[in-house]
Symmetry: C2
Subunit: 326 residues, 2 copies
């Protein structure tokens, strides 16, 4: 097995160049043309070995796919079409070239699926492997999806199932294969975790409905509850959500029961769907056009509470203090 | 002393928000307007604790300044004006808030000096502190400075002194203070290392001379020899350089002698000046307009050899294999 230390920096760069378009390599930076009337959207993420990913649970191809998908989802969350991304890779000499190759296979499988590319990067030595990805996209400024523009009366749309990514992770962490899932159902949930799909496909039908105006929204990468709470906080509004309306994969519901499935949908995170706040008629039209399991899950309210209705029960959702990473 | 682990992620984010323009915070990404006729230029760098910087030799303010300066120099090297940059910060709980504050003081001292700003970022936990910076700029595409467009007959301009950054590092690493430098001279060399100045100021006079055309060039961050060799390789040309013409600070020459000073100028790196290849008359005019220690140091030649003339001696420069980081 060839290791990074066997080939040195030039060997690594040579390998990685194969994954970048040849016309953007060779200068101090990449030059990219943007549509003249559009603004630049920029988003960045750092992923660290054994904190955000681990070789023990995730194949390098999936680490790569997920890293790109998370950043493209942030672009979709702003209404932006991808233009390119840069990858800052930290690694040490004991990393194998095979691992590196598979990581970049995963990165580029996702970039090419979404018609974009790695257009620059940096490789440096570090005792800890990490990936710093910056993605940039373009959007007509008046159409940008922002968190602070939700209005009372807006319907809240989610573009697909929630909870499946968390369920897939659970399946990967369990040694036993649950008897109440078929192999296909199991794989569907695992795919939701390993190969999340940023909802860039939603932008075209959304813009066709919106015309030149924008709408409020974000992605649900930190869970559906977090997305609703963030949008409400930034917009100075509240929301009422209907638990029964939240799209959850039937196999998930039958596997872990309604209550846990709802908990994972609200707090599991990493489903990378979009949450959008739109006038009700437009919301209904969008849900129909997107198809799949897109749904209207609630309404934006004038007061500042975020409430969830389950049957006749109402509970107030609040931000979980779950992300104290240090 | 308050540590990162005492305040958690929210506490860190709260602190860092103060260093970003308030209108770009709160969404999944930042939205930036570009001039409509210009292309986007992107460059990225990762810096790792104890590899690219160390608290033992460098104050956090200087780590921050240098990190931004290196990226802005890459933009200048492409002829691009900065639009903004993102900072992906990896840190652990034992980092002090004071260190973090001083790091961001340094980052923003450099961004504000060059009329740009931190427009996005990510903070994550890692056992190793690192900084991943991606800088964005804009340039009219026909004006971009590229490495592959040097032509035989071009004069080779460097925008200022070389070797001083390497000398400053040497002074910081030495315990003894050399007797043959005044305190002011010593500080000048140390400043060259700690507070390098990306040569964005060169772009306006350069463009005034060039009109709508571009020119070949890059920055000298990996040493003057490397810059000449890279441009020649990408352009399929050679060069002849005159050692006596290379601008070297007089205090450096008198401190370490001509030979070592020249070695540091050619191979020391991190001077962050620009190397530009221009028609001779335009080169002379640019050198005069920039002033300082800008100089014409040689000529682009048709064959592929890169040669250095020292008195009557000629030597061929070749890429040192010095950057095998693993």
């Amino acid at each position: 097995m060839t290791l990074v230390r066997d080939v040195g920096e030039q060997g690594v760069l040579q390998k990685l160049k194969a994954f970048c378009p040849s016309d953007v390599i060779g200068d101090d930076g990449a030059i990219l043309a943007l549509k003249s009337s559009e603004s630049l959207v920029v988003t960045t993420d750092v992923l660290v070995e054994n904190i955000h990913f681990s070789d023990r649970t995730t194949a390098p191809e999936d680490i790569g796919w997920r890293a790109v998908a998370a950043n493209l989802s942030d672009l979709a969350a702003m209404g932006a079409t991808p233009v390119g991304l840069t990858v800052g890779l930290s690694l040490h000499g004991e990393v194998s070239l095979d691992w590196l190759d598979r990581l970049y296979q995963g990165l580029t499988a996702c970039t090419s699926t979404y018609q974009t590319a790695i257009v620059g990067g940096d490789v440096c030595r570090s005792p800890v492997v990490s990936l710093a990805i910056t993605a940039f996209g373009q959007v007509a400024p008046q159409r940008a999806i922002r968190r602070h523009t939700a209005s009372p009366g807006n319907a809240i749309v989610v573009t697909g199932d929630h909870g499946s990514a968390r369920a897939g992770l659970e399946l990967l962490l369990q040694d036993e294969i649950p008897q109440d899932l078929t192999p296909e159902q199991r794989q569907t949930l695992i795919d939701a975790h390993q190969r999340p799909r940023p909802r860039l496909d939603v932008l075209a039908p959304l813009y066709a409905l919106l015309g030149q105006q924008g709408c409020a929204g974000m992605d649900s990468s930190d869970g559906l509850a977090d997305a609703v709470i963030q949008v409400c906080r930034e917009s100075n509004v509240g929301a009422s959500l209907k638990a029964e309306a939240i799209p959850i994969a039937p196999e998930l519901r039958s596997w872990v029961g309604v209550e846990r499935a709802l908990d994972w949908a609200l707090y599991g995170g990493e489903d990378f769907e979009l949450l959008l706040c739109l006038p009700p008629d437009m919301a209904a039209e969008l849900v129909q056009q997107i198809g799949g399991n897109a749904a209207i899950v609630g309404t934006i309210a004038g007061d500042r509470a975020v409430q969830l209705q389950t049957g006749d029960d109402w509970q107030t959702l609040s931000q979980q203090s779950g992300f104290q990473h240090f």
